[in-house]
Symmetry: D2
Subunit: 238 residues, 4 copies
């Protein structure tokens, strides 16, 4: 069965930052969606901040199995109503993949219940993304590590709840470490946070990064009927 | 060192429901605070919904080590501003103990990132609260289980994230089970949810229930300096 | 792809206990294997204690994706060599499903690192196996709970490590609770412990119990290449 | 109350390796015990491989609250009987702190149920031990990280079960990462693994490393009565 996937892009840097536009002429979201669409079992489309309801209407979300999220400059411009709508769908079982600076997106903070803060430094040095759990579905087809030649440093402490699984930990040439690939379950939905993806470097053009995203979409796709999540008065069983 | 503790009570049933007032003439919050104050290392005061800022001003929260929370009818009357203030203090390290129908309080749902829904039935039958982790600090001084002669049934599935620890699981005479004592960490703060405590039964008068609350306050009290939780640009270490 | 599955049975009660033989003329292991073989993607065979190397030779284990284990009276008769062989295969990625009194099997204690003790009472009263995680693959096709009309009571505290996931918690008519369906990962292997299955009751003839076992085999089947698990001296990356 | 602590040293390198003897004339175990004894609430003694029963007789273990373990060359010389005795005491509630190459000690592998393998390279380059959980009791008094000027590299994947908590993650100048401080609970006992401590470098002379060990002893000390861990037939509660 096809995994109906939506790649959401904030789509701001691409409009105002020539270097980003040069790397991603149609936007990072389009680059990612095209990579996902090379997988025969994934059907990926895009949505952006600028569309009505940010492209995430009630009917569209209902027909979405996995949502990917990239945002940075304009987290506050995402309406609370859409954030709540996404949270509800995650609880029902929709998968959510949060990318890079999406650690500070409303929807990620909403689902984590923590500040999701971290250390950072935009110095364009090397990042090595080490596989800590070689048997995890998301790490298949990757060697010992992924090398990102130029990256933004994200450092610990990363203020997230104790993750269900730690799939990747990154090493930065400048001297820091970061849990760069972690999983969570919230209600019926599987969540994967994956940190590599700074907009001024061609990270989403890397084949191994694309492989991780394909794996993650498959991993995060719903494994059950939607969980209708509400308090229910249960009649006596006697 | 004294653990500065605040017991927050919604204080609505006690005003409108004669049976509840008969059990708790000064309110459940006062009953709980008095029980905590029998411990030499705990100094407990109370706060209620009806006070300005619900009794939880910025300075008061800054001087609070552990906050207990009981609410039911009026979750929506708690202002978002106060909820956010509490969340920030939990991330810094304040302990939080959420009681009974507080599973649906704004602050608990805020910190869990899930719906926190469950099954329920108010039938006043027996609940047995089994200790699943006899070495946990919160279970000390309790035998195999606590017997609550009359209780409201809370049943699984309980839509919370995978807990860090499961200390108690309850058995209900009507045929259900519930993870009735679970722990979480969010930022620097320790959180304990404890479900027994329906307002129409004298549950907070039970010595073993009080013992759990004293243990929980000690467990949840901060073990470190406040964690100033924010994104920080780290200068190069080279 | 077919999931190559082996159901291991101790096969002692069936030889010496007429009531067990009446329920399971070919042994519990055969009953379970037949149930699994109704699934088109599972190919299940059996092995027993009495065979050479307990039916679990090196080549056979190498060709096994998922192993199910039922033992009770003769845990000590399983050789340490075979136990170690199984552990190695689990670390490489073979799934392991441990049933009922297998909580005290050498292989389960070996992989848990705890005593795996529990409370018990063979009283033949009702057990209700509640689903605590309705979106988990192992719980698909089950309603709120499975009813086992006559069961042996297994009670908390269950001395296992904190499970990765809690899928089922059981309610016993006699007044106890038990985490009856829990998952663990050890190396590359997925482990599921499922407690219902006392030999003197027709539990493995129940359709919903069989459904759980089919789900569990699928969930536990390897999701990656075998993990060759050893300390390796890594040459310098510079 | 004084925390009765035993530092166990394999004590082989110190006898055969002049550089190690120069750094630790009385052995690493003595250096560590002296550091612990500067804490007023800790009373630390030592035990070594060469003593009868490796210095860990039944009565001595019964009177031990926390055991630290350093071993490397002679893991196989530790008798299985003593290993089992330690495991039993951990389940009852004794704390266990496993150091450096102790990841491959029989007792650690026994309690983890995994191979505990990792990557390594003895190149004497810099290690930075980052605090990932600043509010954890074991990280108190440490800044953002501990710098170890010369260290042996230990790298991921580290074949341990999903830890209960990740307190430290290390960065190696050569390009690797490692979960260098992780906690587990097994039965009633708290376990902390801490990787820095290669014998040819003066790591246990560092004040911040000593601070971690003092913190860890306090954290791991028993918080409850011994848990008598066995299967028990529970009489009917009716």
């Amino acid at each position: 069965m096809t995994i109906r996937t939506v790649v959401w892009g904030e789509n701001v840097h691409e409009q105002i930052h020539p270097a980003v536009r040069a790397l991603y002429p149609q936007g990072m979201h389009t680059c990612i969606a095209e990579a996902l669409n090379t997988a025969p079992d994934i059907s990926a489309s895009t949505a952006t901040l600028q569309e009505p309801e940010h492209g995430l209407t009630e009917p569209r979300l209902r027909d979405t199995d996995v949502l990917l999220w990239w945002g940075h400059l304009a987290h506050d411009d995402v309406t609370d109503e859409v954030v709540e709508r996404i949270a509800q769908r995650v609880w029902q079982g929709m998968g959510l993949i949060v990318l890079h600076s999406g650690h500070y997106a409303k929807i990620f903070k909403r689902l984590m219940g923590t500040s999701c803060s971290l250390l950072y430094r935009e110095d364009g040095r090397q990042e090595r993304v080490w596989v800590t759990n070689p048997s995890h579905p998301i790490a298949q087809g990757i060697g010992r590590f992924i090398e990102v030649p130029e990256s933004e440093m994200y450092g610990e402490p990363f203020a997230i709840p104790n993750p269900d699984e730690t799939v990747f930990i990154s090493h930065f040439a400048g001297g820091e470490v970061f849990r760069s690939g972690v999983t969570f379950q919230r209600g019926g939905g599987r969540i994967f946070y994956f940190s590599p993806g700074h907009e001024t470097f061609p990270i989403y053009h890397q084949a191994d990064i694309q492989r991780v995203l394909v794996n993650a979409v498959r991993w995060a796709s719903p494994k059950s009927e939607p969980w209708v999540d509400q308090c229910i008065e249960l009649p006596s069983l006697d």
